[in-house]
Amino acid sequence: MSNAMTDRRDREVLTPSLREIAADWSADQEVFRHTHWGKAMMWIFLLSDTFIFSCFLTGYMTMRASAVLPWPNTAEVFALTIGGQDIPLVLIAIMTFALISSSGTMAMAVNFGYRRDAKRAALLMLATALLGAAFVSMQAFEWTKLIHEGVRPWSNPMGAPQFGASFFMITGFHGLHVTCGVILLLIIASKVARGHYDRTGDYSSVEIAGLYWHFVDLVWVFIFAFFYLW
């Protein structure tokens, strides 16, 4: 009797989508039943990674807000002289475009994977990996430049010593992620090219690798905004 009443009240109060969430979660391990297990696991990994990068960025915020010495002007620090002219932040802009383009090619690779077009999917993944490798190379160039200018994790001739610590920590950890992503992409791309997923009939691995890659791009969006532009 009381059950029936609660049921009716639920139906009146809750929208269909909210009821769907309640049904999914109240079914314990059934929450992600409709999602490919690998995809659900990748999302949970990415969620934990979100917290890692958020801790870095929050740490950077704390250091920058509590620094007594002036914070270096990133527009000047990351400027390059091209054709006798100082262009502010140009290397970072190129890196951003490279990473966004790699995300674009990756999204298309996933799409071609689901269309069972192994050749195009593999080629697009290879293009993604190349753009990623280009990104890491530019980052290595940027690190070399800053180290030559005397920036260290504990000191920096341009002002607040905290700048070096947050720069090397944040971009280093992101660069590590990109490097791992390039390796992962190359492995999956070679499996696609060899027809592995045609045999299993399941191209989800391409999408899962894609999720990781887009996440790396997503993190860069936040680093670009908070570290380079702020």
């Binding site: 989508s17 769907e20 969430i21 999914d24 979660w25 929450v31 992600f32 039943r33 409709h34 999602t35 490919h36 297990w37 690998g38 999302w43 990415l46 969620l47 979100t50 917290f51 958020s54 801790c55 929050t58 740490g59 915020m61 704390t62 250091m63 807000a65 509590s66 620094a67 007594v68 527009a75 502010p88 932040l89 802009a93 951003t96 475009f97 966004i100 383009s101 995300s103 674009g104 990756m106 999204a107 298309m108 799409n111 689901y114 299993t200 399941d202 691995s205 999408e207 894609g210 999720l211 887009h214 791009d217 997503l218 969006v221 936040f222 670009f224 905004a225 380079y228 532009l229 702020w230």
Partner: protein, 117 residues
């Protein structure tokens, strides 16, 4: 890679993945545009509250595009979307706590350590 998905669901998943390539090209274009705009904020020396607002705005738009289209979040079940997007909100608490902490550290340094340290 055998997993237990009812046949109806697999068909739903496969239908959901058949977006035209033009959609991705369009999002790619938007991301380029937004990145250029946020670069221009710096290039044009926009300062103060306008600068921070624009940076955050472009950042959130880019993040939204990547999450919803590239990462297919727009086509996932709401349970999964909420499981991913709600937990990071607690980070705002951390940010708030650390702002207070940073303020304290700054004034301690400024007042008691002679502006050094």
């Amino acid at each position: 890679m055998q997993h237990e998905i009812p046949s109806t669901d697999t068909s739903v998943v496969h239908e959901a993945q058949h977006h035209p390539i033009s959609l991705y090209l369009k999002v790619w274009g938007y991301l380029f545009l937004l990145s250029t705009l946020s670069y221009l904020v710096d290039y044009m020396h926009v300062q103060g509250i306008v600068r921070w607002t624009l940076i955050i705005l472009f950042m959130l738009l880019k993040a939204g595009l990547i999450l919803s289209i590239f990462m297919h979040l727009a086509w996932e079940r709401l349970s999964l979307i909420y499981a991913i997007l709600v937990p990071p909100l607690v980070l705002l608490v951390l940010v708030r706590i650390m702002t207070i902490e940073a303020d304290y550290a700054y004034w301690t340094r400024a007042i008691f350590m002679g502006g050094g340290g």
